[in-house]
Symmetry: C2
Subunit: 442 residues, 2 copies
């Protein structure tokens, strides 16, 4: 142990600790999302935090490398911390192809690391909650991902949501007709940032890529999901886009089928067709989606995803397709905080036995075991000032305080004072009556 | 996307993927351990995977550095992946001292990384399940950790356990009396590896440090917890050790008090006093413990820990003490596998609706929503061969198969075939009857 040369207990820039109050709520949120996915047939996997850099890096993504925590390990290997869960999923499917059953519906909630410039609410280490269906080209799989998003958020308590759906193939078709396929990547990136730009900035950026007439057409396309600031029906927008893309197409038919399935199970009111959703360039090839909390639209999408047809192409000959989405836990949690949806004190223990005399520790512990059968109980371990013990109970959010008034060889007959810590009301009762009352009142 | 130059989808040496069957069981095990700790008043925290190297490194631990995944990040900082959860806990307590309430009972289940030589069953990335009580010197805190170990393992289904307890201070006192304090570190390390050595090797190693007479005394000390291969009573061993250490001492009195509390709540039969438990040199200063599954003693301790009086000494003036233990999830999980305690197929979904005709997808989805209210159900998304769909259901461990025989505008009146996939028995029923039956049979 170092002596006299204290090390500052500081955390790396962009990283953070989570204290119990927040970590408890995040854990409960994750549990709800997990239950929702399990109910729909998704199963968990795990992959290493650290992988070969060449496994994680895809040629087209120069930006990715800049954000990676990459280094040479002691065995001379070029390695990096994963920056998302989709690339490891692709690698995982290629590695274990023969052992998996398809369609493979997996969820993976885990940390990822990106050396981004830290900003308000953005960290270099964060948790992603990914769920994907791999190995099915079916409309049904697209539908299931869209349905899962709603189910998960409902289970987590967020019912005021709107899921914006589009199809990358439709936009590609549209740009092809405008002879803008070569600029597609840039245009998609600009459109993806649309919500953060003033209209004239957006127009100016697009005009750097093509003439004003085509810019106007692009603006018409991306605005088709909004009439006078309101989203028209899915069907209405779809018809408008079909008109703009030369009529009914394979892609528009697929979107229509997805919508019919949403209608079949009567959840269509949570979905709109929003042609401005592009998800940047990314790896998406089909349906894409973003999810907004209608009470907090400005925080951006809390769950985004889409279909990608070449998931495993980097690692194996058989390109396996997939469709999936990802919840950013930080953003969702922050939103729930803003909406007042988190309880101030989640506490797993209902009762605290106060320690007034160390010599009574055996009685305290006997009582604790006696209560614990029905009511989670803990013992304060030291005979500290009562004010300290009260502060402990209050900070933890414990409901009941218990004081031993008179010990008894028969534990259930010990005479106790039961204090309701919220009202400070005391009641003098034998232990068996205390247990009964706490269990009844919860 | 790279074309024509496939990247091998390989995983780093010493790292691994977890496939659904294993990951499900590990997740359920973790959930049980979590519930047990929450019931006892422990709360979760989280800390970064990556920290400043100087925060993680303690001067005395040259070996630690060799095992670290350490590198210079793009901002020029010397950083490393955490190799345990105790050092980050110490840093966390120092960082947030003013905001925490003491005794601070936290659990932290998370990945840690060590560049050890990979061996059978040992990985470079693994999960530790730590729980500690920080800021109490009380006997009660020592007792609570010992009680928690038993409670967690019982909740996880392991009732045949024996928790070996000792006190580092007693052994230190003994070595002092033999004038061997200077060799204490080496002796403790040798004794810690005792279970893996033949007796003559152990003796030889000790004789390299001191004369045969004292070696014999050390052997007597460490064997006091075993008489003819059987553990005598806690009290009996404690008396023997008191005799060897010059009578009743502060440390022996403390151990006796711990034992009295175990007796008070009637769980003493799970505990033995085993003077050979030293936990290497480490940071322990008081009670130490290891936990063995009595049916699989040779796999070693599944949960180890102890009291350390100088937890935060590296980072702050006020040395805060703590007591805690850690479950190695890999070892515990492997043990449960060996004991046949894991179910072969844990499945979260009870029913699969088979896809025989894509045109019926809306019916399948309506039925799925109708069933899901009571029975977790999924739809096979593609009209693949039935044999493939059966294989999917079987690999996943799904109990019921559902086939649509005749659609109906009223979903609950659709005529279905319900197949028990374990017995292959078919029953022709309307949907409402299928739901009722599945819900009743579970």
């Amino acid at each position: 142990m170092r002596v006299g040369s204290a090390v500052s207990p500081k955390v790396l820039k962009g990283f953070r600790d989570l204290l119990p109050d927040e970590e408890i709520e995040r854990a409960l949120l994750v549990e709800k999302l997990t239950v929702a996915l399990r109910q729909m047939g998704f199963v968990p996997i795990d992959t290493p935090a650290l992988e070969y850099t060449e496994v994680l890096l895809r040629k087209s993504e120069g930006d990715t490398e800049k954000q990676m925590f990459r280094f040479v390990d002691k065995g001379g290997r070029d390695v990096a911390l994963r920056f998302d869960l989709t690339v490891p999923l692709a690698r995982f499917v290629a590695t274990h192809y023969a052992r998996l059953y398809f369609p493979f519906k997996r969820y993976h909630f885990a940390k990822v690391w990106r050396g981004e410039k830290p900003q308000m609410g953005r960290y270099r280490e964060f948790t992603q909650c990914d769920f994907d269906i791999v190995g099915s080209d079916s409309v049904c799989a697209d539908f299931e991902i869209l349905k899962s998003i709603r189910h998960m958020l409902y289970m987590a308590g967020a019912e005021h949501i709107r899921i914006h759906v589009a199809h990358r193939g439709l936009f590609d078709r549209f740009l092809r007709a405008l002879s803008l396929s070569d600029q597609a990547e840039h245009i998609l990136r600009i459109i993806d940032k649309r919500a953060k730009m003033a209209p004239h900035v957006l127009t100016a950026q697009l005009e750097s890529l093509c003439d004003p007439v085509r810019v106007q057409k692009i603006m018409t396309y991306v605005s088709a999901g909004e009439v006078d600031g309101v989203a028209p029906s899915f069907e209405h927008t779809l018809s408008a886009i079909e008109t703009l893309t030369g009529g009914v197409s394979e892609e528009s038919t697929r979107l229509r089928k997805i919508y019919e399935l949403l209608c079949a199970v009567n959840i269509q009111s949570s979905y709109v067709f929003d042609p401005s959703i592009t998800r940047g360039f990314d790896y998406y090839t089909g349906m894409v989606c973003e999810t907004f909390l209608t009470q907090l639209p400005h925080i951006g999408s809390v769950c985004s995803g889409g279909r990608y047809d070449h998931l495993t192409a980097l690692y194996m000959k058989d390109a396996v397709s997939g469709v999936g989405a990802s919840i950013g836990l930080d953003r969702l949690y922050a939103a729930f905080q803003q909406l007042g949806m988190s309880r101030e004190h989640v506490c797993f223990v209902q009762a605290l036995i106060f320690c007034q005399d160390s010599a009574l520790m055996d009685v305290y512990q006997k009582l604790c075991s006696y209560f614990a059968v029905q009511v989670a109980t803990e013992v304060f371990p030291d005979p500290r000032k009562l004010s300290q013990q009260y502060a402990f109970a209050e900070k933890k959010g414990i409901r009941w305080g218990i004081f031993v008034e008179q010990r008894n060889a028969v534990v259930e007959d010990c005479l106790l004072v039961l204090r309701d810590l919220s009202t400070r009301k005391d009641t003098r009762l034998p232990a068996h009556e205390v247990r009964r009352r706490m269990a009844a009142e919860g």
